[in-house]
Assembly symmetry: D3
Homo-oligomer: 141 residues x 6
């Protein structure tokens, strides 16, 4: 079978548990409470984040792989799970010093951490579940 004329996407799911609060330090407490509601709780709350990382490219005819799923899983563990899992995102994760840890921003940070390690001719997309009923996708073209 010759190389397919179409690209293929592979997806790896991982998960991590973390605490966060939503807060804009440029606003006063009233404004923060109004915009972020109970998510602004100063004592933090938390989530089981489910993460799907999608890599898009042509399938290698030698291996039948777009990318080895184990290599992708190890990369996610190193760049995302090790620094985020069982952590307080606001206090302990440098990328959220000054950046509100909404699902949208967490997905973008994960994208930026993984992008340099993915082959430049391949595309990368992040899907992040904050709860089973709320999730985000980045980038969405």
């Amino acid at each position: 079978m010759t190389q397919a004329p179409f690209k293929t996407a592979i997806v790896r799911k991982e998960h991590f548990n973390a605490a966060h609060r939503l807060h804009n330090p440029q606003w006063d407490d009233t404004q923060n409470a109004k915009v972020f509601g109970k998510c602004n709780n100063p004592n933090y709350h938390g989530h089981n984040y489910d993460l799907e990382v999608k890599v898009i490219g042509f399938c290698d005819p030698q291996t039948g792989y777009v990318m080895d799923a184990k290599v992708l899983s190890d990369l996610i563990k190193k760049e995302v799970l090790y620094p985020f899992d069982h952590k307080n995102l606001n206090i302990e994760v440098p990328e959220f010093q000054g950046l509100n840890p909404t699902a949208e921003n967490i997905a973008r940070v994960i994208y930026e951490k993984l992008r340099p390690s993915i082959h430049p001719e391949m595309d990368l997309k992040i899907k992040l579940y904050e709860t089973p009923r709320n999730f985000v996708e980045f980038p969405y073209e």
Copy 2:
């Protein structure tokens, strides 16, 4: 962190339970039975519909949100869950007077009910599960 060059999607899942039958009043009973099979049962049958509403836009740097998920959830409750949940779609929901309540048409009706309340620069997409093994997406570009 400056505004991202890419858009982000946020998704909110909701669900409702309803009765329906599939039927084209311009056809006779034989034709309806042939095309719609057991879904044409004149006494109705029903489903737990799972609904995913996706809104696509740029993330607001002040809030870290594309759109507040609670605002989106409240909008879905008002426009979809309140008028559809525990209802007979054929008899009690005005949009299906003269429109066959297939999953495809229900998704399109939900789109048209929500579209005016979503910011015009944002895109809207609907995913509707009729059963865990059958679902539709509208619009699909």
Copy 3:
């Protein structure tokens, strides 16, 4: 390996879609509306019912089976899926003439329909999901 000193349970999952309404004909409309709320809608609503049938017995050393899962699946299709799927339970299913089709009563009816076809030395248990967040188990000893 000799016969195990303990019993084993096998479970088969199936599903069906049906319409129903909750109603006690011995009560007036006000009482029915008060007790059953939107589930009392006279035009019916519906559900995707997920059904788990559990059979408990000793494992046969010749086959390694408690009971052949295909035989169990075929029995559920004959006794439950064929008469219930895409039906209006109140109107079209004889067992609910005079019996309110709550999840509790549907589970009991399913038990009574299957019990005669299960080996008398084996136990039978029914789990019925009316929605992903509401389910019942019968019998519960």
Copy 4:
């Protein structure tokens, strides 16, 4: 149909998001870190807790209900979701002042909060998912 000779269980699923840390104040930091590992993080981490509340009793022949699922859902909202959701269990929930918020202890606290509001002739069981792969059940007889 006369009263069934067997009991029926009904189950209602709810969920809440909270932060916690595992810590025994009678131990020093070394002992806490050894026993609780990354769950001992002093800055907290968090979970989406999925909760199943099971009530076991005889089905009422008048209603076809063991207990109205909406009444059960409202009770869980009042006793568990309102005081626990988007909270830091260690700091903000009085029952965990001096009690380590492991899944086992959270399940027991939920049982003790709900038990007085359930009919004394009915049994109550709690199932609590801390993650999709770790859960507890209390009481287990």
Copy 5:
């Protein structure tokens, strides 16, 4: 309601169980073991494959369907489930004689088997779960 200006997608989920091993016959055993790891086991291992088949087109105003989901389900059964289910992909499925049965290649083979039976003005997309945490999509444009 006139024809929608947008396309709709319908999706049908099916599943099959099969054995496979990953192996490139042009490589020696050392190279195969290095690239494919435990997936290269010469005695095979297996998976429950979950398959989602998406068909994209305009909704027919007469039926309210893009395509009858039962027709799509029957097509998948004929072209995929019957030849793949409970089979050893390497030994018994002709398409994998000389083609490594990675998830990427299985998805492409399924696409090529179904494509001739789907209306030429409709698009077709395949999503294949090898495990709940690894899946692929083909074609991905």
Copy 6:
């Protein structure tokens, strides 16, 4: 809080992928084909097995644990995942030399491998999904 008068169960979910065939060597091919159908395929087929291991005991007031979930997870990895994952159960796993690898027998073998490592005052129960719609529980008392 004093020791609870009731036991608590903790459950850990894990999964593995394996190939198998169902076959009784004391029977001829006709009898095997008749009893085991397509599961008797001599070239094997396979599954993603989902495993739930439940340990039942009193909660330790010092830790708030019945048993550390990480210790339980490590034990399952050592006794079950390492010897079973990506293996052919009939050929490569000694416990199935002469024992038909039905779900019932696999669950019993897992129980017997784990039982000696669980505290003797605690109970152990195994739940094994062969597919999302077929599972077994052992022991079932």
